[in-house]
C-alpha cells in the first residue's frame, strides 16, 4: 500500500490477495439458494396487487373437435365476474403466436386440436369465482377423429391438423401432418454396409416426459395509464415473449413492459407462452391488474412436453470393432402445434449418430402434427431421444463384435478433428474416450450394501420403505452411456445477448452494476454474472439489476447457452467498461508512471494494477464521481442452416459431452428398480462456479433417471386425452430414488468460448437415461427397447 504521504497514483507492489474475491472459478453461493430451501423465495405465483382480479382459462375437455357454439352468458351473469373473452373478443387480426411460426391460436376458433387447448378466459374478483364462471361457459363440441401417431397422421384420409399451411417448412414435407423433416446424408451407406461384419438393428420408443418444474405458470398483468401493460412473469426469454405478445394486443413493443418475476424452474417448459397473453388481454379489457396462476393439474396442459419418439436404428461394425455405417429414422411426435419442433428435429438429426466416428450416415428425423399434447423444448432437446437409441445400439453391437462395451465405445469415440455427419469438424476438445475411461475407473459401490447386522436395510433396496424385498429376487447391473449435445442456438440463428454494465463509486467503494434480460430460472446465471464482473472489473460489490425489457434481449435461458452467451456479453461489456476506466486513469494519472502507457493493465481488488502486480491507482481515485456505462450486444461465432436435402452445414456453435455409469439393483420378480449410483464425468471447458456445475450435472442426471424408471405422461391412444396430469400419477424421483452421484469434472478449454467454458446444463440429461437402461438390461437380460421402464415391462405382465 502507498504510504499516507505518497502522492496519488504512486505505484506500489501488491503482495498478498491480489485476486479479487468471488470471481470466476470460485463456488460463490447463489443468492436465491437459502430462500428457496427455507420457502421464503418470492415466486411469480406469490405476487399481489391492490384491486387485482384473477384470470381463469377454460380448456377443451376433448382432443379434437369442432366448436359448434360458445355461450358465455351465464358466466358473464355471475356476480364478481368482470370479463369473459373468446376468440371473437380478440382486439386485432393477429390471433396466433408461436416460437418458430405462429400456428397456435390465442383462443380456439372453431376447432380444438388437443386436450386442454384454451377456449375462453374469465376475470373475476376471486379465483374460485373465476373457476366457477369458466365452468358455466357452454361450449358445444362436435368430436372429430384423432390423429395420434405416424400411421394415423400420414394415412391417405387422415384429418389434417393444420389445413392450408403457409409456414416455410410446409413446402418441403411429404404430408401436411409432417411438420418438418431433416435428412443428414454423408458418405455411402449401402457401400459401407457391405463392409460390415456385424449389423444390429433396433426399434426404440421414448415416452413423453414433462419438465415438472416446481412453480406452476403464473404472472401478473397491470394495465398502465399510457394504454400499455406491465407484465410480471416467470419465463425463459422475455424478449421472445414480447415479440409474440405485443402484436396480439395491438400494442407497440415499448408499451408492453416485461419484468421477470421469481421463476420456479423451467427446463424448456417456459419457452412457449402460457398465460402471458391471456393475462394482458383481461387486464386491458377490465382496466384492472389480472393475476393468473395455474394449479398443478392445469400446468400439465399449460406447457409443452418432451417429444415422445419412435427411433429405428441400424448400425454396422467390422470384426475389429470399427463402426461402418448408421441408418436411422427418428419420428418425433410434435403434437397439435409447432412450438420448437423444427429445431428439435434439427438436433435429433444432426446429433443422431452420437459422439462417434461414423463416415457413412443416413439419418432422417421428422416431427409429426398430431392431436397429442404439443411438444417442444425440454432439457436435451432432441438429442436425448437419439442418445437413448444409439447407446442401446452400441451395447448390442459391442456384444456382437465380442468387445467390452466401454472399450467398443472408446474405440469409436470422436475426438477433436472428427467430422460430424453434417460435415462440420469438431474444432475443440472432445474427450469422449477419456470421459468413458474416467467413469469406468471409478470404484464400484460395494455389493449387497443393503445388508446390515440388523437384517436388510430396506431403504437401500428396490421398493425402499415399501418393504417389498429383503434381498429376494434382487440382481445388480451396471451400464454405461455417453452423449453429445449442442450448446447455443444452431442452424444460422442470430443467437446474441445484451449486457449493460456500469461502474461507479458508491459509499467510497467501486461498485459494478450488471443489467441483462437473462431469465434466472434457477440455473445460477445471476451468481455467475457477479463473478464475471468481479473478475473483469476488480470489484467486490456487484449489483445485479432485475431482468426486464428495459435492456436488450439476452436470448433464451435454454440450450445450455446462458453462461456462454449472456456470460460472454457481460464479460464483453465489462471489458469495454474496463477500457474506459483505464482511459480515465491514463488521463488522470498517466504522467505519474510509464506503466500506464506501456503495461498490460488489470483491475484487481479495487485497484488498477499492471500484469506484473504493481498498483497504479485506486479505482475510487480514478472514477471519483464519474460513472462508466456500456450496453453492448455480443454474439458467438455464426452458424449456418443444414442443407435441406443432405443436412450438411456448419450448424452448431459448440458441443458438450458427458458420460455416465449406472449401478442398479432390480427386484426381478416385482420389476422394481433401485438406482444405487449414477457416476458422471463431464467436460465443462471451464467451471465458472464449480458448485453450480456439479449441481447442474446432478440435476440433469436425476432428470434422466426419472425418464428411465418413472416419468411419463400417458396419453390415451384412442382419445388423445392425458391420463395422469398430476404429481399423484406423474412420478418424479424423490430423494429416496436419487442415488449417490459422484461427479468428475474435466476442464478442457474451448478456445472459441469465453474463458474456454462449455455449456453444462443439458449433456448430463442425455446419457443418464440410457446408462440406467443399460444397467437394468445388464441385471435382467431383457431387451427393454422403451423408456421409461415400468414394473410390467420387467416382469412380462
Amino acid at each position: 500500500m502507498a504510504g499516507n504521504n505518497a502522492p496519488l497514483g504512486t505505484p506500489t507492489k501488491v503482495t498478498q490477495g491480489s485476486q479479487t474475491k468471488g470471481g470466476i472459478g470460485e463456488s460463490t453461493l447463489r443468492p436465491d439458494g437459502t430462500l428457496k430451501v427455507t420457502g421464503e423465495f418470492a415466486y411469480s405465483s406469490d405476487m399481489w396487487h391492490e384491486d387485482m382480479l384473477w384470470g381463469q382459462i377454460l380448456r377443451s375437455p376433448v382432443a379434437h373437435a369442432e366448436i359448434v357454439s360458445i355461450d358465455t352468458s351465464e358466466a358473464l351473469a355471475q356476480a364478481g365476474v368482470y370479463a369473459v373473452m373468446t376468440y371473437d373478443d380478440l382486439p386485432t387480426d393477429v390471433r396466433h403466436y408461436g416460437l418458430e411460426f405462429p400456428d397456435t391460436p390465442v383462443l380456439a376458433r372453431g376447432r380444438v386440436r388437443h386436450h386442454g387447448e384454451p377456449v375462453a378466459i374469465v376475470a373475476a374478483d376471486h379465483p374460485e369465482t373465476a373457476r366457477r364462471a369458466a365452468a358455466k361457459i357452454k361450449v358445444e363440441y362436435r368430436e372429430l377423429p384423432v390423429v395420434t401417431d405416424e400411421s394415423t397422421a400420414t394415412a391417405p384420409d387422415a384429418p389434417l391438423i393444420h389445413e392450408n399451411r403457409t409456414d416455410h417448412y410446409a413446402a418441403h414435407v411429404t404430408h401436411p401432418n409432417i411438420l418438418h423433416r431433416q435428412p443428414i446424408i454423408r458418405g455411402d451407406v449401402e457401400e459401407a454396409r457391405s463392409r460390415a461384419d456385424f449389423i444390429v438393428t433396433g426399434e426404440y420408443t421414448f415416452g413423453m416426459q414433462d419438465q415438472a418444474f416446481l412453480g406452476p405458470e403464473s404472472g401478473l398483468a397491470v394495465p398502465a395509464e399510457d394504454g400499455g401493460v406491465d407484465l410480471y412473469i416467470a419465463t425463459q426469454w422475455l424478449h421472445s415473449d414480447l415479440r409474440q405478445i405485443a402484436p396480439v394486443l395491438g400494442l407497440p413493443e415499448e408499451k408492453v413492459r416485461m419484468t421477470l418475476s421469481g421463476v420456479g424452474g423451467a427446463f424448456g417448459g417456459r419457452e412457449d407462452l402460457s398465460m402471458q397473453i391471456h393475462a394482458c388481454l383481461l387486464a386491458l379489457r377490465t382496466g384492472k391488474p389480472v393475476k393468473i396462476v395455474y394449479n398443478r393439474f392445469e400446468s400439465f396442459f399449460g406447457h409443452v412436453h418432451r417429444h415422445p419418439a419412435k427411433l429405428f436404428y441400424e448400425h454396422g461394425a467390422t470384426k475389429d470393432g470399427k463402426l461402418t455405417h448408421l441408418k436411422a429414422r427418428i419420428v418425433l411426435d410434435g403434437g397439435a402445434y409447432a412450438s420448437a419442433s423444427p429445431a428439435v428435429v434439427g438436433n435429433a438429426a444432426s446429433l443422431g449418430a452420437g459422439p462417434y466416428v461414423i463416415d457413412d450416415v443416413d439419418i432422417e428425423a421428422l416431427a409429426l402434427y398430431t392431436n397429442n399434447p404439443p411438444c417442444g423444448a425440454m432439457r436435451g432437446f432432441g438429442a436425448v431421444q437419439a442418445c437413448f437409441a444409439y447407446e442401446a445400439q452400441m451395447d448390442k453391437l459391442a456384444d456382437k463384435v465380442g468387445m467390452d462395451r466401454v472399450e467398443f465405445r472408446r474405440l469409436n469415440a470422436m475426438e477433436q478433428g472428427t467430422i460430424m455427419p453434417t460435415g462440420q469438424p469438431v474444432d475443440s476438445p472432445a474427450p469422449v474416450a477419456e470421459l468413458l475411461r474416467r467413469v469406468k475407473a471409478m470404484p464400484l459401490p460395494p455389493e449387497r450394501q443393503w445388508e446390515s447386522s440388523e437384517g436388510a436395510d430396506v431403504r437401500q433396496l428396490p421398493g425402499g420403505l415399501s418393504n417389498t424385498t429383503h434381498g429376494e429376487g434382487v440382481v445388480r447391473g451396471v451400464g454405461y452411456a455417453v452423449g453429445i449435445k449442442n450448446v447455443g442456438f444452431s442452424e444460422g440463428f442470430d443467437d446474441y445477448s445484451t449486457a449493460r454494465v456500469r461502474m461507479e463509486v458508491v459509499g467510497g467503494e467501486p461498485v459494478a452494476t450488471v443489467h441483462t434480460a437473462m431469465a434466472e430460472v434457477g440455473q445460477g446465471g445471476v451468481t455467475v454474472h457477479a463473478q464475471i464482473a468481479r473478475t473483469e472489473l476488480g470489484v467486490t460489490q456487484v449489483t445485479i439489476q432485475p431482468a426486464d425489457t428495459q435492456v436488450g434481449s439476452a436470448g433464451s435461458t435454454s440450450a445450455s447457452r446462458q453462461t456462454y452467451v449472456t456470460g460472454g456479453a457481460v464479460k464483453n461489456a465489462c471489458e469495454l467498461v474496463r477500457e474506459r476506466v483505464l482511459e480515465i486513469g491514463r488521463r488522470k494519472f498517466g504522467t505519474y508512471h510509464p506503466a500506464w502507457a506501456t503495461a498490460e493493465l488489470l483491475l484487481e481488488v479495487g485497484k488498477v494494477v499492471t500484469d506484473g502486480g504493481e498498483v497504479l491507482a485506486d479505482l475510487v481515485d480514478v472514477l471519483e464521481d464519474e460513472s462508466v456505462e456500456v450496453e453492448e450486444e455480443w454474439r458467438h461465432r455464426p452458424t449456418e442452416p443444414f442443407d435441406r436435402h443432405t443436412g450438411q452445414g456448419f450448424g452448431h456453435v459448440q458441443y458438450s459431452f458427458a458420460a455416465h455409469r449406472a449401478v442398479v439393483e432390480v427386484d426381478t420378480e416385482l420389476g422394481l428398480v433401485k438406482v444405487i449410483e449414477l457416476a458422471c464425468a463431464q467436460d465443462v471447458g471451464k467451471a465458472l462456479n464449480p458448485l453450480s456445475v456439479v449441481g447442474q450435472i446432478q440435476g440433469g442426471t436425476t432428470q434422466g433417471l426419472g425418464m428411465a424408471v418413472m416419468e411419463e405422461i400417458l396419453v390415451d391412444p384412442k382419445t388423445a386425452k392425458v391420463r395422469n396430469p398430476s404429481f399423484t400419477d406423474y412420478l418424479i424421483p424423490t430423494i429416496l430414488d436419487t442415488p449417490t452421484m459422484p461427479v468428475d469434472v474435466l476442464e478442457l478449454a474451448d478456445a472459441h468460448a469465453p474463458y474456454g467454458l462449455r455449456g453444462v446444463g443439458e449433456a448430463p440429461t442425455l446419457s443418464s437415461t440410457p446408462a440406467v437402461l443399460a444397467a437394468i438390461r445388464n441385471a435382467t437380460g431383457l431387451e427393454l427397447n422403451r423408456t421409461p421402464v415400468r414394473p410390467e415391462h420387467l416382469t412380462g405382465m
Partner: protein, 295 residues
C-alpha cells in the same frame, strides 16, 4: 361451504346428525386434495381438529384403541411393538409431512382400495368404533368396506376409534409402488400370524374394488400348518405350500388396468408379496419359538 367446528365429540355428533352431508375433516390429507382439485364441493366441512381425544390411543389387555386422528407418525413411533403391521404400513404413507397429519380414521372414511392402512387392519383383525347421536357400535373390519370408496357408516355416524388386536405373532406389510417413497400403492399386502388361535390373516390393497382378505389362501394355509404340526414343530414351510398360498392370494384379487399398473401385474405382485411376507413372518415365528423353546 360452511365450516363446522365442534368443540367436543358430542357437538360433533350433533352437527353430523343435523347435517348428514357434512364431510368430516381431520388431517385433511385426503379431503383437501379433493377440494383443491374440485373433485368434490361439500356443503359442510366438519372439522374434528378441536376434539383432542381423537388423537389419543390406549393400549389395553388384548387390543389397542386407536383414536381416529392419531397420526401415522405416532403409530410408527409409539405402537411398533403392539401393531407392527400397521406401523410398517404407516411408514409407506406419503411423506413425513403427510404422516404428521393423516390418520387411520381418514383412510377408513375415504375407504379407497389404495389406502395403506387397510391391509394391515384386515390382517391384524380390527373393529371400527363408530358413533352417532343414536348410539355407538363396532363394525368388524371384514364388514366395513362395502364398495369402491364406500363404507358401512350411516350418514349420521362418525368414526371415533379403531380397536386393533395387539400382535401376538409376527406381522408384515408390503406395498408396490413405482418409486421408492411417496407413492400411491399399485397394490399392497398385509399378513399377520395369530399363534394363539393358530390362524393367519391377510389383507390385500389396491387389487380389488375394496380392500379384501384372501380367505381361501388363509384357509389353505391354516389347514396346511395344522396338518403339518408347523405351529408346534416350527418347521420351515415347504416351497409348495408357500407357492399355493401365494397363488391363492393372487387369485383373491380382482384388479383393474389403470395408469398405475396393469391388472395382471397386480395379481402377480400380490402373489410375490404373499410368498415373501409368509417367509419373513414364519422365519420370525420360528426364531421366537426356538428362543422360547430354549428358555
Amino acid at each position: 361451504m360452511d365450516f363446522l367446528r365442534p368443540g367436543s365429540w358430542e357437538e360433533a355428533l350433533a352437527a353430523k346428525a343435523e347435517h348428514p352431508t357434512a364431510v368430516p375433516i381431520a388431517g385433511g390429507t385426503d379431503v383437501m386434495v379433493e377440494i383443491n382439485f374440485d373433485h368434490r364441493r361439500p356443503e359442510y366441512l366438519l372439522d374434528l381438529n378441536r376434539i383432542g381425544e381423537l388423537n389419543d390411543w390406549e393400549v389395553g389387555e388384548d387390543s389397542v384403541r386407536l383414536g381416529a386422528s392419531v397420526p401415522y407418525t405416532s403409530i410408527m413411533e409409539n405402537l411398533r411393538a403392539e401393531l407392527p403391521g400397521l406401523a410398517l404400513a404407516s411408514h409407506t404413507v406419503a411423506s413425513p409431512q403427510i404422516r404428521n397429519r393423516g390418520g387411520v380414521g381418514g383412510n377408513l372414511g375415504t375407504a379407497s382400495p389404495a389406502g395403506d392402512a387397510h391391509p394391515a387392519l384386515l390382517a391384524a383383525g380390527a373393529e371400527v368404533e363408530v358413533e352417532s347421536v343414536r348410539g355407538s357400535r363396532r363394525i368388524p373390519i371384514d364388514d366395513f368396506y362395502t364398495g369402491v370408496k364406500r363404507n358401512a357408516l350411516a350418514a349420521d355416524e362418525l368414526i371415533r376409534a379403531v380397536h386393533i388386536k395387539k400382535a401376538e405373532g409376527p406381522q408384515q406389510f408390503s406395498k408396490v409402488g413405482t418409486r421408492n417413497a411417496m407413492v400411491i400403492a399399485v397394490c399392497a399386502f398385509g399378513l399377520a400370524l395369530h399363534p394363539s388361535s393358530r390362524t393367519v390373516r391377510t389383507g390385500i390393497g389396491s387389487a380389488a374394488p375394496t380392500p379384501v382378505r384372501a380367505k381361501a389362501a388363509e384357509e389353505f394355509l391354516n389347514a396346511a400348518l395344522e396338518e403339518g404340526g408347523f405351529w408346534d414343530n416350527g418347521k420351515i414351510i415347504t416351497p409348495s405350500v408357500a407357492k399355493q398360498f401365494a397363488d391363492l392370494c393372487a387369485a383373491a384379487c380382482n384388479p383393474i388396468d389403470d395408469v398405475r399398473g396393469t391388472a395382471s401385474y397386480r395379481r402377480h405382485a400380490v402373489g410375490i408379496m404373499a410368498r415373501r411376507t409368509l417367509t419373513w413372518t414364519w422365519e420370525s415365528y420360528r426364531g421366537t419359538a426356538a428362543t422360547e423353546g430354549a428358555a
